[in-house]
Symmetry: C2
Subunit: 377 residues, 2 copies
Amino acid sequence: MFSTGHYLILSSLSRNGPESRSELALRLGMSKAAVSSLVRDLLKQEILCEQTPVHGSGRPSVPLAVRAEAAWFIGISLQDDPAIVVLTDLHGTVHDRMELPRHADLETCVSSLCDAITHLRKGLRSAKVSGVGMALPGFVANDRQTCLACAALGWRDVDIGGVLSKRTGLPTWIENDANALILGEQLFGALRSSPDFSVIFISNGIGCANIVNGRLLRGYAGGAGEMSHAPIVTDMAHALPCRCGNRGCLETVASLLAIGNAARRAGLPGEIAELARLAAGAHPEALSILHHAGASMGLATAHLIQLIDPSHVVVMLDPNLRDGIYGHALQRETESHILRRPVSRGMIQFRDFEPDSFACGAASLAARYFIFGPDGV
Amino acid sequence: MFSTGHYLILSSLSRNGPESRSELALRLGMSKAAVSSLVRDLLKQEILCEQTPVHGSGRPSVPLAVRAEAAWFIGISLQDDPAIVVLTDLHGTVHDRMELPRHADLETCVSSLCDAITHLRKGLRSAKVSGVGMALPGFVANDRQTCLACAALGWRDVDIGGVLSKRTGLPTWIENDANALILGEQLFGALRSSPDFSVIFISNGIGCANIVNGRLLRGYAGGAGEMSHAPIVTDMAHALPCRCGNRGCLETVASLLAIGNAARRAGLPGEIAELARLAAGAHPEALSILHHAGASMGLATAHLIQLIDPSHVVVMLDPNLRDGIYGHALQRETESHILRRPVSRGMIQFRDFEPDSFACGAASLAARYFIFGPDGV
DNA sequence: GTCAATAGTTTATATTATGAACTATGTTGA
DNA sequence: TCAACATAGTTCATAATATAAACTATTGAC
């Protein structure tokens, strides 16, 4: 259908925003003739549209933009219960969403998801959905169809992608939660033009993913970005045992679960909002717990920055954590342990943890295929 | 001269070893006709050669190999004094070498290097040198020609590559020491077919570089792999100040310099061989110093493995360190802090620290251009 | 109103890969 | 020994894709 050239145009416009044919030719190192011809095809297919001309000296240039309504995608997040299903356009904007109970049983799970997808597709009338993406907390095989292991759902070697694909008739991609998040950020987010950035999210667990050289850093065994079990507490007298078998892992101190546990051990409420309120009121024990957690997170972040050198680190977390001592400790500890760089201001970007983020990231998995093509990154 | 296709063939053969035209076509996803034609050109240019046919059922296949003598390269290491200049072939084999005093003065430095290069070229008779690579301890600009900063030589914004290139008439590439090392390993070494591996070297300082998705991980500001200032000693009572301004950096405990300093503070000899001998004789202080150093190195390595997930980590160090408690502590501490993976045996590969390694890596910078072409990675 | 400047198109052509038929060179087994 | 088969590699007509250079289009500026 489309050639590599078409996808080059499409991905450049998606990444760098609207540009004229001449600018595209310059950026992509192609001839104006080639761009002209490729753009013609994409306009005819109504995937691109021409924006109002920009006047300078000489003939005005016509910025070309990717049409948001050119394609629609379904994104599913099994990150939490309830599961979330969203319908997005080609810009990543959510047009409709549903929440449904998350079932561990494969058959029930697929059935309820398919019902939701059917319902969302109906709302679209004539327009077509191009693909489905799913994010889940666990390991996913290289084929991006099979879930190798998911503790939360008790899955092992579950071909959830294949089953979904067969039932919906739509191409389907599966991805680990953190990976889906960062891929969504890369395709739709503010950092989309940066080839080197990282995303960390802090919820009950801690997730992390990295874009490096413009591509997702997966690593040899798909385990890259696993900061959650970074050995942070090295003082073995205080290191708590972790479910991974080691002691002192980051997630034993810095995750919501760990903070809640620490609070309850100290006789404080395990609710994060409550604890943050206490800390804001200068409650010494609450302050200590949150400071230790945030500083540990900061130490791990410093390791990440030193090793991977991203332009930005997006940290998604509960606003209660962000605005209090946890966020401050995180930022201070990170900055005090990295080598000063020319630009380190605003390197850490806090962002609210929103439940739809994972579903949006999931939808982006399918959108990537549309934008980058079959050989795309 | 050559097209993308030619470079595809050349880099595949270089990376995956000799293969027949049919195998190449399969691996590269090209038609047999295309491969046949491209190979014909490369044979005519005497860059490839045909090996003895392999018999199976049907017509024997003819493995094609990159001819070592097809191109020659100069590699320069300014890592230590004396500087080292090597002449390598297209397989990375050193055919000749020279050592010369390392001059900080640009003019003197370039002059003596040019003399050495001229001498090495003479030994080649008719054959031509295709390019020059240089490795130095410091920061190098994106153009791979300019040294931005080099503490050892006191250089700032020195266009050493441009000057060398002008004087020798040869294309020249400059690279940071660790980067040159891993790029050499990727082109010529045993791990050349792995797209995800890391190299660490431990000398007076500590260097680290990573290949990720088949490409060098440079990071946003070119600072990726900077493990030398990883915050390892978090117990501030014992954290030593580092030249970077922070305290407790890895290099304040695990480098040769740090070990020597610690030994001298304890009234022991600062020589690494001496110290290792003492430790082998169960000298408690020597053991303690080396164990602490090795374990710290292991902790940092564990962070690296968790975040980047390489298939292998090559650790280059003094044999005295490798065989004693330092090496053991490094390995044990690393393995105890990483999540178990299906294949973790032999993940850490110790290798002797050889002075020519950097110069070979430097030569590989020029060889890359020959093998991967102008658009190559 | 002409000219300079830049955007975009047309068209003939060059480059590069492909598919399918063909040749080459062996092994296998009656 | 020789036909049958299997696989490797080549040839050649063709398709796909990009290019260069000349062209048209559309404006601002003087």
